[in-house]
Symmetry: C2
Subunit: 293 residues, 2 copies
């Protein structure tokens, strides 16, 4: 079993490889051509660990991923196993990098697909690493003229604006009237302000990835096209599930993300609820091993 | 992340360490002092992979275990993580050895605890590796005068008898009248013959570790003391669950294995249903790392 470190991965894997792998995994998952068991969750006094597993049909490998967040620090690793023997092949000691990348890629793909082509202002809510990645990866798929950054702590919003400008994106903190496209990346346990989201033609929600979180006001789901990365997961602990239980949307109303990535424009307002699925972990780790193995 | 190979583990870890770790984990699990999420299962065309995780309170590490069985070959590895940082610490590339050992230890401990002291003939049903280990590990806890080996294939039963004799245990194939103590280790999808089990004062069932298996005739559970290694797992896919659904025993009738390991004799017939729990994986891998890390 070879152990591959995070710096080797960072140096060798271009975003295009991640985009291709994530897109293929989302399409395969929508078509039922994946194996994705329910994640495991282990709570600890100082943090949480999640275990996800996934397989994309006809790929040579599958993955068992362990991701921890303890005292605000994320760590993780992906164990790649042979789909023909079941034996472990490699451990990608990626420290959570590939999870961050596949989350960024999935968000950027669906945000790009469902946001009208003429929209070039985007708002991001949250100021962490995913807020930055969602914007820089989206900018690889479409032109972004301006990023509005919303965060509870002004200094964190200002820092993210600096980081985005260093990446070549114009960015400014705060926004009042709302933007046509909003990506939410907070760890909020309660819904974000409705005023900031009401004007959005498309919203991608990234942050509600485990029980106890909820970013999007449930009423937003009424009348919107709803897409989910995994129906069961999003119903169980995504914003979609919160909205279903609040009575704003039917439990069968969602479409799989993988069916709307073709970019065909929809006439209606849309919301993408992403909880993160093992199939994208499998596809990305398999692609990385294809480059490095 | 250090990778420890199977030969290093085999050479360094005495059975007493495994017995102590497994006993402590079973007692902790019975007392509610563990974290054991529901296992994950991935089906493949040529095999199955299970992922189990576990943590025993106040231990420095927890474990995420991946165990595969493809075309009859078992492989596996245990990832040990820090319970204070969540970061991966070591990968025990044990190829399933520690799973085999902890299963043998758990079975031997409960078989010894619930079988009357004067019983020195044991029957084992099944002829695989666990059949052998259940007998040799049990022999470390109590005197075994004779092992009866039941298997569908006579040549496999004869081979196991040879192996047991090589380990210093008298063994003979077949048995007609049944034994007072029976350990079942088959992968049977349907119940074993009732005649072989009806006379048993104690039965330990090892083989029903996933959905689609069922070793013990459900009627055996009527009136027996039932102990389970994990209430939810055994109810979901153990022989206990099959018997509950067949109406022979109440869904709340079981006691945790960890509460009866003290060896206090019970007046009644007993059945132990073991599905294998992540807490024992955590304890054993932690103990191994304590020796080798």
């Amino acid at each position: 079993v070879r152990v591959v470190g995070v710096e080797e991965i960072r140096a060798a894997v271009p975003p295009a490889v991640v985009f291709d792998a994530v897109r293929a995994a989302l399409v395969a998952h929508a078509a039922g051509n994946t194996v994705v068991p329910s994640p495991m969750h282990l709570p600890f006094p100082h943090g949480d660990t999640h275990v996800k597993a996934g397989y994309v049909a006809d790929q040579p490998h599958f993955v068992v991923k362990t991701a921890s967040s303890f005292r605000g620090r994320n760590t993780g690793s992906m164990l790649l196993l042979s789909a023909t023997t079941g034996a472990p092949v490699a451990m990608l000691a990626d420290d959570g990098l590939l999870t961050a990348w596949r989350t960024a890629a999935a968000g950027a793909l669906i945000t790009d697909a469902l946001t009208p082509v003429d929209v070039d202002e985007v708002a991001v809510m949250g100021t962490g690493e995913q807020a930055r990645l969602q914007m820089t990866w989206l900018a690889q798929l479409r032109k972004i003229r301006l990023v509005h950054v919303w965060g509870r702590r002004p200094e964190a919003a200002a820092l993210l604006c600096e980081q985005l400008r260093a990446s070549g994106l114009d960015a400014r903190p705060g926004y009042e009237s709302g933007a046509a496209c909003v990506v939410t990346t907070t760890a909020a346990p309660d819904p974000l302000p409705l005023t900031a989201l009401r004007a959005a033609l498309h919203i991608t929600g990234i942050g509600t990835d485990m029980p106890g979180k909820g970013e999007l006001p449930p009423s937003l789901f009424a009348g919107a096209l709803v897409v989910t990365d995994d129906h069961e997961q999003c119903l169980d602990h995504g914003d979609f599930g919160h909205a279903v239980r609040a009575g704003f949307v039917d439990a069968q109303a969602d479409l799989p993300v993988g069916t709307v990535l073709d970019g065909a424009r929809r006439s209606t307002r849309s919301i993408a609820d992403l909880t993160g699925i093992g199939a994208t972990d499998a596809a990305v780790s398999g692609a990385v091993w294809g480059l490095l193995g």
